[in-house]
């Protein structure tokens, strides 16, 4: 057990925010204009890097060595978690950022995300307590009456109370429509009596906030079955009386899970209204006044979409921290001799070809995923602030299409990528004395919660491909074609491979992206063909691989865009400049990603065109052997 936050600097985040994305557009919005300019970002990122190292990293060790416990009906969290929660909340790094009042001092999403990435890497187990409080508070902000907002928001924003999302029940996981939780009317049309039990609730209980505000899905008695009939309620652990005092609300913790990782994060089973004494506030319209149709799922999707982004981002932060740790180890560990110069004596392992490849594979994936994710975070700020409806719509479309990619791609790749970071350590990586073992345990959950990655894949091919009769996805693909067209000529002319200097040309990489785009069209046509033949099973059969290919295509476009900029900067600065290596590293990341990862897009297209159905044809009985 030896957590270690190994971000040496925030250089790539600064590149994204100060050089690559046009963040000046965001900082010009009235809410931020008084406080920020691109030049000021170091004053936010540098102290946060320091806080991640000095303040948050120690809590990660604490969480792993003092797992959450459940005794006498009460949850005990790791000792450092409560004080850290209050400190970050009180000092403006958490839920206060959801404040949309005119004079609120808040960070734009794209900047807060950069701060959170460092915090997540320093302790991925801790951050959900804050992230879920933000998501829950945002739902109240957007859907509650003034009375309910006033009751809950100030206390959630200052960290006195925390929040959760309560969807899952013992018999309803992926299929939320099957929930059994019920809501019964009372004399007050906004207040319902709640009865049901939830499980796997992250932060469902704790010993450091005065109250816990559950955003709770239930069906009002008599409403339609399935997801249609579901409504959303604010169900506090302690009922808030008119004078602000708290009283029991019949919410009990019945147990917590013992998990593969994430020891510091409470995963609680909760029972609501066992003694008929639980009440909750309804958000939005009463389903019984709307043909039994509730607004709950649509409302909850707002929180889920946010949480899906944060899930992918958590996976990315874990991958990055694993590889930054591995890099440091490989610079120290002496083993073996150079294959190209065996007589020169023993070397640090970072000099070996296969270790360099492993580290660049990690770096390339991290930077490609990061580029993809921050482009979406940037779109969030446009969507929330821009006055031009067309621009807002475009941003919204990008968010819709890329949310499943941002959730599932990093969390799918994290497991094997962190496995490879362990591999770079050799035997020491398998030992708890080094930090990568814990990262591997903690990271697995991200492909499962917030909708498994299969659910994300179906969201992509079932909903996002079809949005606006396919126009939204067509626009997404067309943007990538336009990107290739716009840059092809310039990159072909770029300098490259002069004596002793690395090859900075990107012509080959653009050709690969174009070929991948072409393959992707064929892939979609093949799936279209199967659907035309009513072979519906082909869609879920290939969905996860399609999501991976889509992400690789898009992340390839994003990192190649960064490389175009880096190539220009590297040529301007020249090899003697202190920042030259950053830009060269960026170009090498792009080259690795395009030449070694993106070709999977046509491999997947070929497999889908071939249309192997063995996994559909195999009788279930054949799995017995």
């Amino acid at each position: 057990m030896s957590a270690n936050f190994a971000y040496l600097n925030a250089r790539d985040l600064k590149f994204i925010l100060k050089e690559w994305l046009p963040t000046e557009e965001i900082f010009a919005y009235p809410q931020y204009a008084d406080y920020y300019s691109k030049e000021d970002l170091d004053s936010v990122l540098d102290p946060c890097l320091k806080m991640a190292k000095e303040l948050i990293e120690p809590s990660n060790e604490d969480g792993d060595s003092h797992p959450c416990q459940f005794a006498n009906g009460k949850v005990i969290t790791p000792p450092t978690f409560g004080p850290l929660f209050h400190k970050l909340q009180e000092e403006g790094w958490g839920t206060s950022n959801i404040d949309d009042s005119e004079d609120a001092m808040v960070l734009p999403k794209v900047l807060l995300s950069a701060v959170w990435e460092m915090f997540l890497a320093a302790n991925p187990t801790f951050l959900p307590y804050i992230i879920l409080t933000c998501g829950a508070a945002e739902l109240i902000r957007d859907f509650a009456t003034e009375e309910v907002k006033e009751m809950f928001l100030p206390k959630m924003m200052d960290g006195s109370w925390s929040g959760t999302m309560c969807l899952t029940e013992p018999s309803a996981g992926s299929d939320v429509g099957d929930i059994l939780s019920k809501a019964y009317p009372t004399d007050n049309p906004r207040i319902f009596r709640i009865k049901g039990s939830k499980m796997f609730i992250t932060g469902g209980d704790n010993d450091f906030t005065e109250n816990i505000v559950h955003l709770y899905l239930a069906r009002i008695e008599g409403a339609k079955p399935g997801t249609k009939g579901i409504s959303l309620f604010v169900v506090p652990k302690y009922w808030v009386n008119e004078d602000g005092s708290l009283s029991d609300n019949d919410v009990q913790t019945t147990g917590i899970e013992h998990k593969l990782g994430m020891y510091g994060s409470v995963t609680a089973s909760l029972s609501f209204g066992e003694n008929n004494g639980c009440r909750g506030w309804l958000l939005g319209a009463n389903s019984m006044e709307n043909d039994g149709v509730g607004e709950g799922m649509a409302q909850m999707f707002q929180m889920m979409n946010g949480a899906r982004m944060e899930t992918g981002h958590s996976a990315l932060a874990c991958i990055a921290n694993a590889y930054y740790n591995a890099r440091d180890y490989c610079k120290d560990r002496i083993q073996g001799r150079l294959i190209t110069d065996p007589k020169s004596g023993r070397v640090t392992i970072i000099n070996h070809e296969d270790i360099k490849r492993t580290l660049l594979m990690g770096k390339a994936h991290i930077e490609a995923m990061r580029a993809m994710m921050y482009r979406t975070y940037f779109a969030f700020d446009i969507k929330h602030n821009d006055l031009d409806p067309e621009k807002r719509q475009k941003a919204s479309n990008l968010i819709e299409v890329t949310t499943p990619l941002c959730k599932a791609y990093p969390s799918d790749e994290a497991w094997w990528l962190i496995g490879e970071a362990i591999q770079a350590y050799g035997g020491y990586g398998y030992c708890e004395e080094y930090p990568v073992a814990q990262i591997a345990r903690d990271v697995k959950i991200y492909s499962i919660w917030e909708g498994t990655n299969f659910i994300q894949s179906m969201d992509l091919v079932g909903r996002k491909w079809m949005m606006g009769k396919g126009a939204v996805f067509a626009e997404f693909l067309q943007e990538m074609r336009d990107f290739c067209e716009a840059h092809k000529a310039t990159v072909e002319a770029a300098a490259g491979g002069e004596a002793g200097l690395p090859d900075l040309s990107l012509g080959k990489e653009f050709a690969i992206l174009e070929r991948a785009l072409e393959s992707y069209s064929q892939l979609q046509m093949a799936i279209g063909g199967y659907m035309g033949q009513k072979k519906v099973g082909m869609l879920p059969l290939y969905a996860r691989r399609i999501l991976t290919a889509t992400s690789q295509l898009y992340a390839g476009r994003c990192i190649l865009d960064q490389a175009v900029l880096a190539s220009r900067k590297a040529q301007e600065l020249g090899p003697d400049h202190y920042d030259y290596n950053f830009y060269i590293g960026k170009i090498m990341s792009a080259k690795y990603y395009l030449r070694n990862v993106v070709p999977n897009v046509w491999a997947v297209a070929d497999i889908i065109k071939d249309g192997d159905c063995s996994a559909l044809d195999i009788p279930i009985g054949a799995f017995d052997y």
Binding site: Y35, S43, P47, K50, E91, M105
Partner: protein, 250 residues
């Protein structure tokens, strides 16, 4: 009560020092507030939080970049700043003269500083400022009480602590064990941008110190590995220590 804190911008203590054209190369180096000065800033802010200080002013002598150090101190909670623009090659004497001049114009009730800078480690500037301004001076304090126009300072002394009472205004330098500097809050960082920082030129004086040369410490020379049985190895080791390393036995 107005408290003024002298702050120097230094290299990040983790930075790798390199020489270029005979000078220390600061390209690409992360610059921070001298950690000892950060303690003085925290001490001043705590005095304000206790209602003893009414205003905390940060003063830094240095190049334009030193503005970042001032902003960091403002983000922690100081009220305003003064950047005394001065060539980065100024020595401790020239720094003290420039700072003393700016301090005099502010007429503060208390002047705080770190007792040493993490870069050149010369521990001269606060003492020189006190001398130039003719003010009492206490070094390496670990706590301070202000009452009745006096500062009662506790500092580390050989094998114990010393308690010194001085009239204020006085120049007082901090030891790191005084307190733990806070991290700036998000609001603190945002507000820092709007807090006033005046820029003045340093009064021109000649350095008293002339730097002849910068040199990096000699790298550690490789050790030897003796792979023999212990009796032979001990003899070889003794021989190596005596004749190669030339360890003197007194």
């Amino acid at each position: 009560m107005k408290v003024l804190v002298c702050v120097k911008q230094t290299f990040d203590t983790e930075a790798k020092i390199e020489l270029k054209d005979g000078k220390i190369n600061d390209a690409g180096i992360n610059l921070i507030i001298n950690p000892y000065d950060e303690v003085a800033v925290e001490g001043a802010i705590q005095l304000k939080e206790k209602g003893i200080a009414t205003e905390v002013v940060i003063v830094s002598a240095g190049a334009d970049k030193a503005m970042d150090a001032i902003r960091t101190a403002l983000a922690m909670g100081a009220d305003r700043g003064i950047l005394v623009k001065q060539d980065s090659a100024a020595d401790e004497y020239a720094r003290a003269v420039a700072l003393a001049d700016a301090i005099k114009k502010e007429n503060p009730d208390l002047i705080l500083a770190g007792h040493v800078a993490a870069d050149d480690g010369s521990s001269q500037v606060p003492t020189r400022i006190a001398e130039i301004l003719g003010l009492p001076h206490v070094n390496v304090i670990t706590s301070i009480e202000i009452a009745g126009g006096k500062a009662t300072c506790t500092s580390e002394a050989d094998g114990g602590t010393a308690v010194t009472e001085v009239s204020i205004p006085a120049v007082i330098s901090s030891q790191v064990s005084w307190n733990e500097p806070r991290y700036p809050s998000m609001k603190g960082i945002m507000q820092a941008k709007k807090k006033p920082v005046a820029t003045v030129d340093a009064i021109a004086v000649e350095n008293k110190v002339k730097v002849l040369e910068f040199a990096l410490p000699a790298g550690k020379t490789a050790g030897i590995k003796i792979e023999e049985d212990p009796d032979v190895a001990a003899a070889q080791m003794a021989d190596w220590m005596k004749n190669t390393v030339k360890v003197e036995v007194k």
